[in-house]
């Protein structure tokens, strides 16, 4: 199978407009004859479901949470980018496009990213019209701040909870359609499989998480808006329920999985304290606007700090190393996430880490508190400071925060073409779950932008083209494909419930996380990856022999839910390793020790690796087959990424 990205012809800035004109339309009277399934109700899912319903399609929306408002988009803190240029500081669609391509280390599609930048301005308008309370200036107009990887202020924000406010906006639009009867909402439902008829997606199998009932749902098209797979690392900033199951089942039904090894390790998270820990908490990137990252200049003073012999505030200015400001004077503390993370790791590896574990660096607000006053700092970041104090029992107004990188986002995901369609016809993938826009590293405040761009402004156009082609004839739930998929799901559930070994599922998950973090985390090399591949295989085999799953199928059973998700992570982990092994270059968040510049920065190999790696599933325990989509750059010159 040859990958066809369906990128429209013509100049970059005209592609999307021309494409929209060329796409087929479904007439208003026919739209109500179609049903569309949307799985996941985060920013991408809620916005897509609401927008499609507003057009007149019937939508069935599903989420595993007890309310669509609880999808993990809710937890995004910092902001959302848009090329509004309200600040008159030189921003433009082209600059946002350029920053995003460069930020992604030249591993994303020009046409997709340009479209993203283009529609970014509409997103802000849409959200404000819904009543999203963005931060404002005294004149009543919208405020902006700057974020990593850019030199303009284009980030719109809502205190430290931009995600919640945007999601509540999309959720309100969804509610309106539920009220109008155009969306039927299924909460506490988990998607367990995709149903294909003659090669095209025509429905899904779900499990009602309360009754345990396995149900089938038919539709003309299926949209997966199911988020990222960061929880493969066990500890991440993701919510506990975030999982790869929907995307992984789709992958097994023929959807290629692209760039699975591209994961984002976010530089500013609260460090790990112990084995009991279930998740890590992010401290928003916006903090780097006013916080300065530093470590002690010498390993000796770091040792004293770790032993509690001295405090951070005891160290004089000349004994501190503001390493980001020193190495990257142009961007300073606002370098992109992958660069900031890698530098923190280097410091720790040199023995200059702080905190009792020695696995942390400082994020210091003393200078900005002096410059702006404590009240101004509290107004900007108060809720984040409170959150920090709650978790660590330390007061960040009085002493610097301790931070360390943690898994935060996954750039990889299901391969999609320009229309967001996967390699399975009728199956679409939106938001973090797809691979399309962030290349090898996502810039801050771009995830919210992409989720809403896909849902509000891309899929309402591109889906119509497919629906017009297939026609409105109803899909028959009696088709044997539904029964077959349902039986597979029931078998899988029973298989999991039959596991009555001695180890809990969480123990397996934690072990998998250790392997992934150690060998497929911030630095990777061939030897380690090969070792990790074997370790994961052994762990997976052991899981199916010795894991223990409680309860029965026809009840609310969180043990079963978790087991199914971890079982899928145990398969995905191996594919991530394969992908990291294949890519013998460093780019963005993927840092191969074998491929670095003299200064220790990521060294790309554009000649051999300027492609998206799209993996095709070939059966249980069979090697997956790699397909390459060349990344063609006609509007941007590839160069060594520099933030100096």
């Amino acid at each position: 199978m040859k990958l066809d990205s369906k990128i429209p012809e013509g100049p970059l800035a005209e592609k999307w407009s021309k494409h929209k004109f060329n796409l087929k339309l479904v007439n208003p009277a026919n739209k109500r004859k179609y049903t569309v399934i949307v799985v996941g109700t985060g920013l991408a899912g809620s916005s897509a479901a609401a927008s499609l319903a507003a057009l007149g399609y019937n939508v069935k929306a599903f989420c595993y949470q007890d309310s669509p408002r609880r999808a993990h988009s809710i937890a995004a803190q910092g902001g959302i980018n848009a090329a509004k240029n309200y600040q008159n500081d030189g921003d433009s669609v082209h600059r946002l496009f350029y920053d995003t391509i460069k930020g992604g280390d030249y591993r994303s599609r020009e046409a997709n990213v340009y479209r993203l930048a283009e529609v970014s301005v509409n997103i802000i308008d849409q959200c404000v019209a819904q009543g999203v309370p963005f931060a404002r200036e005294y004149g009543g107009l919208l405020d902006n701040r700057s974020f990593g990887g850019s030199q303009v202020s284009r980030t719109f924000y809502a205190r430290g909870q931009t995600g919640q406010q945007l999601l509540l906006g999309a959720y309100s639009a969804l509610n309106r359609q539920i009220n109008l009867g155009k969306v039927k909402m299924f909460t506490r439902h988990e998607m367990m499989d995709i149903v294909k008829i003659e090669g095209e997606a025509k429905g899904i199998v779900t499990r009602d998480l309360i009754t345990g009932e396995i149900e089938t749902h038919a539709a003309h098209a299926v949209l997966l808006c199911t988020g990222g797979y960061g929880n493969v690392f066990y500890l991440s900033t993701n919510a506990m329920g975030c999982n790869v199951t929907a995307a992984w089942k789709a992958h097994k039904r023929g959807a290629f999985f692209a760039n699975p090894c591209f994961t984002q390790i976010h530089p500013t998270c609260i460090p790990v304290t112990g084995d009991h820990q279930s998740k890590l908490t992010l401290m928003s990137e916006s903090l780097r606007n006013d916080g300065r990252v530093w470590a002690p200049k010498t390993a000796e003073s770091a040792q004293k700090l770790r032993n509690g012999e001295i405090k951070a505030t005891d160290l004089k200015e000349e004994d501190r190393d503001y390493f980001l400001e020193r190495k990257y004077p142009a961007f300073g503390n606002l370098v992109p996430r992958d660069v900031a993370s890698r530098n923190a790791k280097e410091i720790v590896d040199e023995g200059r880490g702080v905190g009792s574990s020695g696995i942390a660096v400082y994020l210091d607000f003393a200078e900005s508190i002096q410059r702006l006053g404590e009240d101004a700092v509290r107004a900007r970041y108060g809720n984040l400071f409170d959150m920090y104090q709650q978790i660590t029992d330390e007061n960040p107004y009085k002493q610097p925060m301790r931070i360390y990188p943690a898994v935060h986002y996954t750039m990889g995901g299901l391969w999609v073409d320009y229309n967001l369609q996967t390699t399975v016809k009728g199956l679409y993938c939106l938001g973090e779950a797809n691979f399309s826009d962030h290349g090898a590293n996502r810039l801050g405040a771009s995830a919210l932008m992409q989720g809403l761009a896909d849902g509000y402004f891309v899929i309402p156009y591109t889906l119509g083209d497919y629906l017009a082609t297939i026609g409105p004839d109803a899909v028959d739930l009696k088709n044997p494909a539904f029964e077959e998929a349902k039986k597979n799901v029931i078998d899988r559930v029973n298989q999991l419930l039959s596991l009555k070994g001695t180890k809990t599922v969480t123990e397996y998950h934690r072990e998998l996380g250790h392997i992934m973090w150690e060998y497929c985390g911030m630095a990777r090399d061939k030897e380690g990856l090969i070792k990790a591949k074997n370790m994961i295989r052994e762990l997976r085999e052991d899981f199916w022999k010795n894991a223990r799953v409680s309860g029965i199928s026809n009840e609310f059973n969180q043990s079963l839910e978790n087991a199914g998700r971890v079982a899928d992570f145990l398969e995905l982990g191996e594919l991530m390793i394969d992908d990291a092994l294949d890519r013998e270059e460093s780019c963005g968040g993927h840092f191969r020790l074998e491929s670095q510049t003299e200064e220790g920065e990521a060294l790309r190999d554009d000649k051999n690796y300027a492609y998206a790696a799209a993996w095709e599933y070939k059966g249980d325990n069979q090697p997956e087959v790699l397909h390459k989509e060349e990344m063609v750059f006609e509007n941007i010159k590839l160069s060594q990424r520099s933030y100096k």
Binding site: S67, P133, G140, Q164, N175, A239, S278, D393, F457, R548
Partner: protein, 255 residues
């Protein structure tokens, strides 16, 4: 660093909504003060699983105080003994060695127990679907800066908008009233210019749905405000009452 603790837990166990529940006592030993409350329960659940018992079911997801999933009534208080946080943000350093900790689900007729400590809060979604929105379709809206909103108004609306829909207000109220939740949602849009066209229609629709769900009446005890993890003010209730009466008495034709 303080030392590990041993705790006695009295946990509400209930198989499903049709079965009667009861308290069951568990011992939680070697609890680190750095654990969150939910991490402590995770450890208890790991032990129960190894012993072949059914783990304690509770709702939780983001574990950073924003998704609103977690919902435990701890020693008689929604989200436990501390002010302004959710259960997932509560750390064990707030407890002492040998403490007995009583853990219950939200208690309200409109929030039926699903299993153990998990309840059905679907009523909140239905109230919002009844009118908690601005009726705009995707596209065709004015430029974001075409609507100037005074900062004080925007900030006030934001304070209402911080509600995470956890239901602690209902759980705290002796009448199981949902007035704080509904009024926060009503207020956000009532304060903003975008919400004006449907202002009076919205408040009536949402209040009607709230009543239909079986929540109790508000008797102004203020327990909701005291227990809200986002510290949402009861001035929202006053604002909603004012809008509701205005709608009923004067603005009927606009509704």
């Amino acid at each position: 660093m303080s030392k590990n603790m041993n705790l006695t837990l009295k946990v509400w166990r209930q198989k499903n909504s049709d079965t009667k529940g009861k308290f069951v006592t568990y011992q939680a030993d070697h609890v680190s003060p750095d654990m969150s409350f939910l991490e402590m329960l995770d450890v208890v659940n790991e032990d129960l699983t190894r012993k072949g018992d059914d783990p304690i079911h509770f709702d939780h997801d983001c574990r950073e105080g924003i998704c609103g999933s977690c919902s435990l009534h701890i020693n008689g208080r929604p989200h436990g003994p501390k002010q302004g946080i959710t259960t997932c943000q509560l750390h064990m350093r707030s407890f002492n060695n040998n403490d007995t900790v009583v853990i219950e689900p939200w208690r309200a007729e409109a929030f039926p127990v699903i299993k153990d400590l998990a309840v059905d809060r679907g009523a909140f979604d239905r109230i919002q679907a009844a009118g908690g929105f601005v009726s705009v379709n995707t596209g065709g809206v004015p430029d974001a800066n075409a609507i100037a909103i005074p900062k004080v108004i925007a900030d006030e609306a934001f304070n209402s908008a911080t509600c995470i829909g956890c239901g602690a207000c209902v759980a705290a109220c002796k009448n199981a009233s949902a007035m704080l939740f509904v009024s926060a949602k009503v207020s956000q849009l009532a304060l903003l210019p975008q919400g004006q066209p449907e202002r009076y229609r919205r408040v009536q629709a949402m209040v009607a749905q709230m009543d239909a769900e079986g929540f109790g009446s508000c008797t102004n005890t203020g327990a909701c405000e005291a227990e809200c993890p986002k510290e949402i003010s009861i001035t929202n209730i006053a604002r909603m009452n004012r809008d509701y009466f205005t709608a009923k008495l004067i603005k009927q034709e606009e509704a």
